[in-house]
């Protein structure tokens, strides 16, 4: 009997269908365990351009991985744009870092013994591009366990880092990003007045809503952190703002004035910090840190 090649293929498929498919995800259920990474998040402010910043050398902070599993695990360490893989979300008011390679490590693979711990060091170098002053960036540090042969589950931790570059006035170039601000941080004295510039880099005319403080409607769970040593301003009305709303033409720039109106004898002691919150019609968000000193 002759069987055509098509018939032979069909027969083969049927036989394969009748055969049991051997899927053995793991020979036996293994004991569980965990992964811990500390610190789990960092805010770096006033980061200079063009110089290598060595976090461990400057602060003594290294990133520690604790392998709570009963087997040796190799962990891969990478810096990523938050949208790439991991969190997909990042803190509102920050933009994704333009290039995650600005953040790098002393090693990209760490082998950790069962129930052991290891550290890795973090470095940062922002290119010498004036557009990178006044930036608020989000980046994710991914620590991913590599499974050994035959294992089913691997563990990973995705750490949210915020990087704020040096604040500068009159840089002479438009800041990078769809919504640019200049400066990104300023200090107001008791009755001081300062100006900030808002750059519309979105490719079309935009209307911006402005306010003091972080609006309650911000959807991210984590809120922008205060600079170390500063307290949240007791009353946002202490800061006057020249515009609540502002239209900026395509590729245009507009100025906004901020004025401090502190009471004669504040009940609480400073120094205080708050934020100028800026939001475009298209949903772009940015903020300026406002530090108040008596």
């Amino acid at each position: 009997m002759r069987i055509s090649s098509v018939c032979l293929q069909r027969l083969k498929d049927t036989l394969i269908g009748l055969f049991a498919v051997m899927l053995l995800l793991v020979p036996c259920a293994a004991e569980g365990g965990g992964l811990t990474v500390e610190p789990g998040g960092l805010l770096l402010q006033n980061v200079p351009l063009s110089t290598v910043y060595d976090l461990y050398k400057e602060t003594g902070i290294a990133i520690k991985i604790l392998n709570g599993l009963d087997r040796q695990v190799t962990y891969r360490i990478t810096a990523r744009k938050p949208s790439h893989r991991g969190s997909e979300k990042w803190m509102e008011g920050y933009q994704e870092i333009p290039d995650s390679s600005y953040l790098f490590f002393d090693r990209n693979n760490v082998v950790i013994e069962p129930q052991g711990a290891e550290e890795f060091k973090l470095f940062l170098k922002i290119p010498d591009d004036p557009r990178y002053y006044n930036q608020h960036w989000a980046v994710t540090v991914a620590v991913e366990g590599q499974p050994s042969p035959g294992e089913v589950f691997a563990l990973a931790a995705y750490l949210p880092f915020e990087i704020e570059t040096e604040s500068r006035n009159s840089v002479g170039e438009k800041p990078w990003g769809k919504l640019g601000i200049e400066p990104s941080s300023l200090t107001l004295n008791t009755a001081g007045k300062e100006k900030i510039r808002i750059y519309n880099n979105e490719g079309k005319k935009q209307k911006y809503q402005l306010g003091i403080g972080i609006p309650g409607k911000t959807i991210s769970m984590r809120q922008i952190g205060l600079t170390r040593g500063y307290r949240d301003i007791p009353d946002v009305k202490w800061i006057g703002i020249s515009h609540d709303e502002l239209a900026v033409k395509q590729d245009g720039v507009r100025e906004v004035s901020l004025t401090a109106r502190l009471p004669d004898k504040p009940a609480e002691a400073g120094p205080w910090e708050t934020f100028l919150w800026i939001e475009s019609d298209s949903g772009e968000k940015a903020f300026v840190r406002i530090d108040i000193e008596q």
Partner: protein, 188 residues
Amino acid sequence: MNRGKMKKTISVICLWAIGFILSWVAGNAYAASSGNVTVTVTIQNVSVSLSATGWDIGTIDAGQTVQMSETTDITVTNNGNVSESFTLMLTNPTNWTAGSAAGSDVYVMKGLFVGASDAPAPPDFGTDDVITTSSQTASATIWGAFSTTGNNVPALSSADLWLQFTAPTSTNVITEQSIVITVGATVP
């Protein structure tokens, strides 16, 4: 050189010198500020653990769907000090690829994060619950069908991960296949 011209030359030199000094001072001020990075630890730690690291499916037919049970589900715990959201992604074995519908050498892996007493039925696993090779974060709808999800899990709390697997409808591979599922933690 007459006296007027000489006066003008000295003025120009003075202005140049003042400019140079000012720019030198400004440059040094910048250098001083560049060493003034402020670092704040915003999250003490991110931590995640699993109650077990395996799921023994055993031998199943081509195209067959199997899922975890109360005895085989995996408890995923947030051992950190802040709320976390869990992430899932998978790594394909050598001969099969993951898809949203089973096919020749194509399998489907779905996941659900549920409460300790929840027991999802097969229809509870929807199209939003397909695990792919790209990491995604749990939400109310992604890997979520019950009141407890893998999204915004409080510190020291947990969710149970149930997996559902559909084998390829046909395959020439009848040897053991290992699919790696990466369970991650991120801070919402």
